[in-house]
Amino acid sequence: MFEQAISAMASVIVDPYLLGLIFATTILGVIIGVLPGLGATTGAALLLPFTLTMDPVHAIAVLATIYVSATFAGSITAILINTPGTSAAAATTFDGYPLAQKGEAGRALGIAVISSTVGGIFSVLILCFAAPLLARVAYEFRSPEYFALTVFGLSMLASISAGGAVKNLIGGIFGVWLSTIGAERVTGIERFMFGNYELYEGLHFVPIFIGLFAISELLVQSKTVDKIIKTVSMKAVKLPTLEDYKKIWKTILRSCGIGTFIGVLPAEGATVASMIGYSEARRWSKNKKEFGKGSIEGIAGAEAANNAATGGAMVPTMVLGIPGSGTTAIILVGLMVHGLRPGVYLFTEQVEKVYQIFGSMFVANVMFMLMGLYAAKLFARVSLVPTQILWPIVFALSVIGAYAFQGQLLDVWLALIFGVIGFFARRHGFSVAPIAVGLILGEMVETNLQHSLKMFDGAWWMILTQPLALMFLVFAFLGLCGPMIFSWITKQKD
């Protein structure tokens, strides 16, 4: 197994086509990452239709490369124009921009590049070792355990960064309900189709995701057309000095651990990881006063954590079929579309493909480091593309991408409708990621609940007698009610 894994990962380096693809996608990912509003999730949603005719490994490598490179690239604009290219880079602005204003933009970018690369590579290594181990544990899972696990995954939506807990859960339930549209799988009874037989197999993820992420973002961006961007000038990216390394190595290592752990948690992602990475860097720092004024520890803490979350988020996605973030939800759809069923099967029957994907992520991390070091200045210029040119192009890519998936105009209308729904949801403080995650997990929840009920002759409480299932349900309960109970106890003590 180990030998097979190493040779599969090494095969990425000797495959010129795949290398070229990763190189081109890294450039695209960095461009997507530096364009404010067009983050990894929107980029992956737009690119998904383009991967349909590709080989499965190449397709997933493209999506994973977009994920890691766009997550890093958000830091370029966060540092140079005080606008995070992606939400995961929001914490980088706290110290990145102040340092750039002091005339040290090159140094800030150098720290961001190195921290992101170390975080990314660390998480890929953890992914390589943790994923097969978790897959072995998951081998024991039956319907009650999968049901409890998906409930746990849905409960974690409560803690997604954007929106409040209640709003996120409402979004998640709406997403699960969307998954019930179409013919019910056991009985074949048509649900919420209103005579539209194109919906017989249910709503497909691709147009819905294009709508929720790309079209809704277009409408959100329409509110910022008058925004004037101020840029900070920069000569070249500077590699950190020995002094810098001495100051930040502990922060980077801590953030690597935090980011990977947060990424592994279902429904958590790079944004939460970077915020926690930043606040932990501040908590442990000897120079707390520097934070917010251009601390290199702050940049390193946020950047190492957000890129470490990318590999972490791939663990539940590939092993359990539970996405770790909005972007991994799209990668999960990519896996399904290409017939790579996430779970134990993937790690027993298609080990080579899995490790080729991991190898691609490793290579992508190295490539974005080189691009960050030698071409960040050039990429920063891309962020100045006028919104009135960029977003109409995104519109064209969205509608054609939605159509191309199944060759149905209905998918285009669905993308537009869900774009408008997503926009209004965001307008009222609801995040769209829970809807996407709910849509993916919905079928798993219902099917596993049905199987569990059959297993226990309708006695649903028997699910609680399964130790692993009980553990996940307890985690779900703690995830939902823990913060409330904790604050109540604190109030009582006070």
Binding site: I170, I173, V186, R191, Q388, P392, F395, H428, H451
Partner: protein, 152 residues
């Protein structure tokens, strides 16, 4: 009623409508369903959960009294109107005519003052995307005025 309660109200109406529709769904014979659940049960369960959460959300609004959200500028509403225009143009003329018109008008609406830039964006983008999908990905586009000329 304050307009902050409009969201919980709309969500509640939606949930109740789903429950009402779910109650109209067919039921399957006992021998097929067995000890499992009817097709209607799961959506109804979801909507009841949602109604409970909407109740909590309304209580949060009552306690925190959030500020009403300001109405968007004309760019946003105009963009949504362009989606509608795209639908009409696609259905009655051609998808690529729809894309051309929407890109051109959206550029102008969003503040592009150079007509030729908007025109070039509206022409080159769908052109390149069409070439990519038609030649490389072998996707057949829906028939319309332009596609009939192309496919014959």
């Amino acid at each position: 009623m304050k307009n902050i309660y409009l969201v919980p109200l709309i969500l509640s109406i939606f949930s109740l409508a789903v429950i009402a529709i779910a109650l109209q769904l067919d039921t399957s014979p006992e021998m097929i369903v067995g000890d499992s659940m009817q097709a209607r049960s799961f959506p109804i369960f979801l909507m009841i959960l949602k109604l409970i959460l909407i109740g909590i959300l309304s209580f949060q609004f009552y306690k925190n009294n959030p500020k009403p959200i300001a109405l968007e500028k004309y760019h946003t509403w105009g963009s949504m109107f362009l989606f509608l225009l795209f639908y009409l143009l696609t259905v009655y003329t051609d998808m690529f005519i729809g894309i051309f018109v929407v890109i051109f008008l959206m550029s102008i609406l969003w503040g592009e003052r150079r007509i030729w830039v908007a025109f070039l964006t509206a022409t080159i983008t769908p052109g390149l995307v069409f070439l990519l999908f038609d030649y490389v990905l072998k996707i057949r586009f829906p028939r319309g005025i332009l596609m009939n000329l192309y496919y014959g």
